[in-house]
Subunit: 326 residues, 2 copies
Amino acid sequence: MDDVAIEAGVSQMTVSRVMRGTGQTSEQVRHRVEQAARKLGYVPNRLATSLRDETTPLIAVVLPTLGNRVFSEVLDGITATLSGRGLQPVFGVTEYSEATEEELVRDLLSWRPQGIILPGLEHSDATRIAIRAAGVRVVEVMDIDGDPISIAFGLSQYAAGQATARYMLTKGYRRFGYIGSQGARDLRAVKRFNGFRDAVRDSGGQILVEHVSDGPSSMIEGRRATATVLSAPDRPEAIYYSNDDLAAGGIMHCLSHGVTMPTDVALAGFNGLPFLEALPIQLTTVETPRLEMGIRAAQHLIDDHDTSEVPRVIDLGFHLIPGQTS
Amino acid sequence: MDDVAIEAGVSQMTVSRVMRGTGQTSEQVRHRVEQAARKLGYVPNRLATSLRDETTPLIAVVLPTLGNRVFSEVLDGITATLSGRGLQPVFGVTEYSEATEEELVRDLLSWRPQGIILPGLEHSDATRIAIRAAGVRVVEVMDIDGDPISIAFGLSQYAAGQATARYMLTKGYRRFGYIGSQGARDLRAVKRFNGFRDAVRDSGGQILVEHVSDGPSSMIEGRRATATVLSAPDRPEAIYYSNDDLAAGGIMHCLSHGVTMPTDVALAGFNGLPFLEALPIQLTTVETPRLEMGIRAAQHLIDDHDTSEVPRVIDLGFHLIPGQTS
DNA sequence: GTGAAAGCGCTAACAC
DNA sequence: GTGTTAGCGCTTTCAC
């Protein structure tokens, strides 16, 4: 910037004013500065601006994984909301590890972001302390079953599982299987299953088999798991999947092996991802407000508001979509 | 940091040394400083470090969209490679707009990243100038058909289209349809189609219909487009899709309407996404090294090396996967 | 309409 | 083993 100032024969201050279009500058000077800047290929240094202003245009975003469309849709909602307002996301991925999250949050906070968006309500003490110490705005997304640090935009995962079970029960199914992934690390999937299981048991139904693989969820994993579950001696009438990818894999298994849905086996998923609409048979699932969670979370961090007045939990709800698989 | 120094009764410099574990510090002092830091909830400010050191641990990443698994896989490769080495991605999405890319690149560069990763080889002059001026390392990914700014890791999109056409031609198809999306903004899809079309014409085949929708690609869009193309009076024997999502939609249309593949119509896609494996019928497609592109790009930015010695184009190749749809 | 000075938080280099 | 100094690039404040 000093170089530009010298080249244009003015002070740094004037260059600063021209670059940002603030204050008073004569047409003449403005022109000379712009020329000089272009000639020297001047690139402003936001580190300096942010250090000086004690504020950054950054929003930190923590995601469990990029391997599921669910989170890239949330991220999409966030980036779309931020981009119009000159804010930038800095993000990181935890792969469902609390320890990774802890380190990641510390790293992200050192950039002094305006705010931070976290997935879910479960975080280590160290994570909570770091966030409190940084005095940064926090929003938690996805889940509302628990105690948010400050505010959460999401849905009741437990209730979603419950609702799915109740629907299946009204359809007459009593003997269920469950297919999940990510071991027990996906805490929201665990909550959904708890809701599902509780509702089933309350009605005298039973969970015959739980098949939770350790790796990430995918259609192919769902297909394999479905083959396994359906070939078990105690074969369930209906299968609840922890998400749509797994459930779609179940559909593929059935289509490929002449298993008729829902008479041979009924299926239900979770998320209501757009690709389901393209399948030959419509999956019973629960539609979640993924984009909206991202948008609302980002908006909350942007907007001015009295923290004390805001409700701590915003339930964005869910919507059971009856399909042809149950 | 000054507060911590006062609390611990030492100088800022000592606090700095303790925090980073560098230099000499007595056990005593170290302990006092750590206590003080914890008590005051000290969070280091990387803006200051980066300004002072004239270097950041940031890698800028530009992506066309998050709506396609292809790019989240590339991003996954990048983040996985960076995270081990204390580097952080800052990213933005262009939605296939060159103007958005220009602005985004300027914004990202103002953070003084170590390097920047761009999709494809086509960028506006302003983008190129900004990058050159910033003196930042650049890697372009996905495509190698053109002139990279510095180095590109990718594959020949034109050759991939050609290879697909040649394979289809050996199978006896001569009358083709093409289904794409994103208008003409997805320049790599355009290159693939050019390769495909040229190869088809060279063999006396013909492209009967080109159906390129303006929106993003999706399975459901592919399903709809396939219905349209197959109901046209001049119905093609085979359809080439600009990617797997669209092609999978085509498969769904055929499965749902009793259209037998490949006898009634043959299909081919592009990318070799994992979900294809789960489908009831295997799609003929071209497998691309998505994760590897991300990993190699990130590694290149991390590694020390003499810029002049490095080849400018790294062809990571592709792999035609014959399926049951052609 | 323009400039000079000061300081944001941190650390390399050099005392002691 | 610890402290002092200076400066990274920018902008707020105040002077002219």
